[in-house]
Symmetry: none
Subunit: 406 residues, 2 copies
């Protein structure tokens, strides 16, 4: 049997609840989406709780679950996944933080949490990297005013609080140990030393002198948050015999996939918003399939439209994406379509509702569902599944699973 291939399309936050302005239908129920409906019609459908009933997942924890990991075991914070998504080569046990350049006054009171939305200042990155700390560390700019910090070495812990006060007019926080371990106390001390030294190297940095002359706020602080320990994730290929790649714009999702041992494909113009390069992402997906068994295609903007409560725009974006999905038809043996969580437009936050899932390909027990939406798929032949069950169900159909027993 020739090796089978699959595309897993994850539409971030696409699933929703009945919306008043849509006559109590969901965006998926009103959108014209012939290609999504074709996957549902020709395949088997069901509902999925990425984590568990009622638990609103983050996109990171939902993707971890869908890739088969227990987020309660492996997820301690967003930092490691952002850092991996930014391209840093991480090691299990590293402590990673999300970071952002900010402006502070001489009392370390934050005057601008984004330092005037400074754009990836490589000179400042270089300056921060020259700091001496009692442990190895990695520091890297990501997008805009954002960066990541990774501490490496023994006796470190992710149980440390943020230095980011999350509010203008408040002082940069002293990182505190969140438990009584020596490792947490030591890590807090190192983080506070980092804060002090960052101010020393950035405050008088020529680039900030120049910014002050131009009336711009100086980027003289780096605020830290979201500490997490880099987990050891058994690679997807080892666990399921599936060589996989990911096509995504969002660093967080790229990071999750990277740590799962997947190839991360970069696509020019992939932004994660409604103007993303969908054509490029679709083409990259098909290309990545040449050298992989599975490609995860992640499309982000549904989620932002949900957070912003933009109902009509969400319906429209479903239709836009649907039109592009036509090009995936017949490009793989299996197509799987789902959402990582709902971001209901009336709720404007991730919610713990189940999401529809549809799977088409050889051997699938096609059911009677004709439409890819929350209520139609609830009558599908797949029933209700959890995130970590999705890939074993797919791998079984791909002939990748090993018999347990005789």
């Amino acid at each position: 049997m020739e090796a089978m291939k699959a595309i897993l399309i994850i539409c971030d936050g696409m699933a929703d609840r009945p919306v008043k302005s849509l006559g109590y239908k969901t965006p998926l129920e009103v959108a014209k989406k012939p290609n999504m409906d074709r996957i549902a019609s020709e395949g088997i459908c069901g509902m999925m709780y990425a984590i568990a009933p009622g638990i609103p997942p983050g996109s990171d924890t939902a993707h971890l679950a869908i890739l088969g990991y227990d987020p309660y075991q492996v997820y301690t914070g967003r930092g490691p996944f952002e850092a991996a998504g930014a391209g840093l080569e991480l090691q299990p046990g590293d402590i990673a933080f999300r970071a952002n350049y900010a402006s502070v006054n001489e009392n370390l009171v934050v005057t601008d949490r984004r330092a005037g939305r400074i754009q990836t200042p490589s000179e400042l990155e270089e300056a921060v990297k020259q700091i001496k700390l009692p442990v190895k560390f990695l520091f890297k700019n990501t997008t805009g005013h954002r960066a990541v910090l990774v501490l490496r070495g023994r006796g470190l812990s992710a149980a440390v609080g943020d230095t980011d006060p999350h509010e203008v007019g408040k002082k940069v926080l002293k990182a505190e140990a969140l438990d009584r371990t020596a490792a947490a106390r030591r890590t807090a001390r190192i983080v506070n030393l980092f804060t002090k030294k960052v101010y020393q190297v950035l405050h008088h940095h020529p680039l900030n002198q120049q910014r002050r002359k131009e009336g711009l706020p100086p980027a003289n602080m780096v605020l830290l948050r979201g500490a997490g320990v880099v987990p050891h994730l058994e690679p997807l290929e080892k666990r399921l015999g599936i060589k996989a790649a990911c096509v995504a714009a969002t660093a967080l999702i790229k990071g999750v996939c990277k740590l799962a041992g997947m190839e991360v494909v970069e696509v020019e113009g992939a932004t994660g918003n409604v103007n993303t390069n969908l054509r490029g992402k679709i083409e990259a997906t098909v290309k990545a399939l040449e050298t992989n068994d599975l490609v995860l295609l992640h499309i982000k903007a549904f989620d932002e439209l949900g957070h912003d409560g933009k109902t009509e725009e969400k319906v429209k974006f479903i239709e836009t994406v649907d039109a592009h999905l036509e090009k995936l038809w017949n490009k793989a043996d299996f197509l799987v379509l789902t959402s990582d969580h709902t971001t209901p437009v009336e709720f404007k936050e991730h919610a713990g509702d189940p999401v529809p899932v549809a799977l088409v390909g050889p051997g699938v027990r096609k059911d009677d569902v004709k439409s890819f939406d929350e209520r139609s798929c609830a009558r599908g032949g797949l029933g209700y599944i959890r995130g970590p069950e999705l890939l074993p169900i797919l791998a079984n159909l791909m002939g990748k699973m090993h018999k347990f027993g005789a």
Copy 2:
């Protein structure tokens, strides 16, 4: 209330996937099977993953799960279940191997893995039993060229490799310890001693001298594989208050049931293939019900037809078995019908698809399902269950379950 009785019919590997030559229907969807459909029509239906979504079970691990045990906890290899099925009285902790008589040359290179398909040579069994080993052991012929070996004593381990090279022209393997424990190393030494002594007692055995004269390959070696430790399984009767028996031809299934504390009923002419004595098995089931609460009736041949890709024959065998099931109607309060796993005719191996299950009897919430097949049962009132949930659901309806709480 009089004690209620139930028959659990497990059709090994009967469930399937849509098959091209059947117009993308499954064998169960095209077969005429009025009795199976009657169980579905008058009862409640659902789908079952014996182990977990996507996991292809062995028949042994699936039956363990359906009987309520966690195969990941209790299953280390096929040996113990074969040995129990062969009628050996095992003790938890025993190390059991599958064995087969083979022919080897003077360099211990295997020339025939089945010793010319020698038939249960009792003289050779006796010879092997005379061997002295530093631990107690049991050895017994089963069917054809097959046998089982059991090592008993402290300081033994199932973490030993096979001596069976699984190929003609290769040398008998030295058993290796598969972990670094002293027990594994000791067991490997004993196994290798067994190999050496077996050759000594069998090579010049009169029966083999005779075979050589007749131009037959000598059965001068016993190859070992599938080492496993005999688990302690809490008996079904103790766990669920259900006194149970099993009617099966397959030693592996008989072994699982035996270790679960069930009575194993022997039926003359029960072969496990399409020519098995179905009438005899049905009669034995009804008879065993006189002294048991539950009888598990296992029918094997669907699985072999699946492995061999024999679509039409699988459909026909479903119809043959169905005709016999009529005689079970009204013989028990409850009839439960299911499969342990799929063996799709196009895939020819066990697969991790869900299987249909139907349950009829007093108190059951009859649903709208009219046909016992993979897609109809997916719309049933039972929803999706896992193997270990089936007997508690049945025992509850039988009034056997104890309230937990007040």
